[in-house]
């Protein structure tokens, strides 16, 4: 299982990464969330918004949200 947050280096990407970490702890997953600050990789996925939450290689949330419920659901639905 791989959970990644791709960002462009802006404060909201960092914030989202933190919320995702909390969500992963809450679900009780034994995995480390990766934070990748590379716009080029977001573009390569065919996207243009940051941050992007990627679960097992699939973008599941695009753009910033602080909503931990939504983030938790997006991770659980795509495990």
């Amino acid at each position: 299982m791989k959970i990644q947050v791709f960002g462009a280096g802006c404060p909201s990407c960092k914030k989202m990464f933190e919320v995702v970490q909390t969500a992963v702890l809450k679900i009780g997953l034994d995995t480390k969330v990766e934070y990748i600050c590379d716009v080029q990789q977001i573009i390569a996925m065919g996207l243009m918004q940051s941050p992007v939450l990627v679960v097992n290689g699939k973008p599941v949330l695009i753009g910033f949200t602080p909503d931990i419920g939504k983030i938790t659901k997006a991770i659980q639905d795509n495990l």
Partner: protein, 321 residues
């Protein structure tokens, strides 16, 4: 009838009955103005930002890109500028947008039309213009902004300046199109609600400070006091306003309530419009960030063309309004 009339009644009631300020005094004028404008702006803000967010949820940048990559040059500039209106813009979204557009084959000129329109015609500026100046000025602002965005893009496209973009931008790395997660009606409404609250949280203090200083000027500075410095007969007023506007982007929300009062004290309308366009469209942080994807020369060309467009608009409306 003025649809804001009930707010006027509320402001009068708060000023004279609740705060018990003697009518017709300078203090009463200032307090009344502050209460009325604040309530009006925040109501407009909630309604308009919510509506724009709903529209936006149907048009994420990825969809806009696929629309733009299939358009010919001139139609592309027009559509890019129109789509720029509903797209929110912050300096951290500039790079993903620029890279994403160029790598998908959207022409450089079209991309610039979008980059000009997106920050210049944004919903916060629009609400404030509508609230402080009325729909005519708001409309003039939108239309002139669109024209500047369209023509700046066309001119930059014609200049063949692709060599001034960093070469890595053109290395196409896009692996086909991703399927965007589907959005339900409830999610759109939730998104719009959150976005509206976010913006309000971010700007309310600047707006209140702007309106507050504005209210003070409204009450205490004599009308036409500024005409001697910045009236329409002063040739330097427009370029000076544009220069002052460049470093002020982060505070656009507080600046518009302030300038609306300045016009009342004698700053001419064209100068005011040019100032607001410069505040929104020419932003120092955006230029710094764009340096990562283009040579400084191109940033100067971009700022120069947009700046000239704004100055021209300023002079034009100083003459006709």
């Amino acid at each position: 009838m003025d649809i804001f009339f009930p707010i006027k009644l509320l402001a009068d009631w708060l000023t004279y009955s609740i705060l018990v300020i003697t009518p017709k005094t300078l203090l009463a004028e200032a307090v009344n103005f502050f209460i009325y404008d604040s309530i009006k702006i925040f109501i407009l803000m909630a309604v308009i930002i919510f509506a724009v967010s709903i529209i936006r949820s149907y048009l994420p940048p990825e969809k806009i890109r696929s629309i733009l990559s299939h358009k010919n040059k001139y139609a592309g500039n027009v559509i890019a500028s129109l789509l720029g209106i509903i797209t929110p813009f912050c300096s951290c979204s500039a790079i993903p947008l620029f890279l994403g557009f160029i790598q998908a084959g959207v022409p450089l000129g079209t991309t610039f039309s979008f980059l000009v329109a997106s920050p210049m015609i944004n919903e916060v500026a629009l609400v404030l213009l509508l609230g402080m100046f009325g729909w005519k000025i708001a409309l003039i602002y939108i239309v002139s902004g669109l024209i500047i965005a369209i023509f700046s893009g066309i001119i930059i496209g014609k200049m063949k300046v692709e060599s001034l973009v960093e070469p890595f931008v053109y290395e196409n790395t896009i692996n086909g199109n991703v399927d965007l997660p589907t959005t339900t009606r409830n999610e759109r409404i939730a998104y719009a609600k959150n976005y509206t609250l976010d913006i309000l949280k971010k700007v309310w203090i600047y707006i209140l400070i702007g309106i507050g200083i504005g209210a003070w000027i409204h009450g205490y500075v004599p009308a036409d006091f500024l005409a001697q410095y910045a009236g329409s007969d002063k040739w330097y007023a427009v370029p000076l306003a544009v220069l002052i506007g460049i470093p002020l982007y982060s505070n656009a929300a507080g600046i518009i309530p302030l300038v609306s009062v300045l016009t009342e004290k004698g700053v001419s309308m064209g100068t005011t419009l040019a100032f607001m366009m410069s505040v929104t469209a020419l932003s120092l942080p955006e230029f710094m960030i764009l340096k990562r994807v283009m040579k400084i020369k191109l940033i100067f060309i971009f700022a120069g063309i947009v700046g000239m467009g704004i100055i021209f608009t300023g002079y034009l409306f100083n003459l006709v309004l």
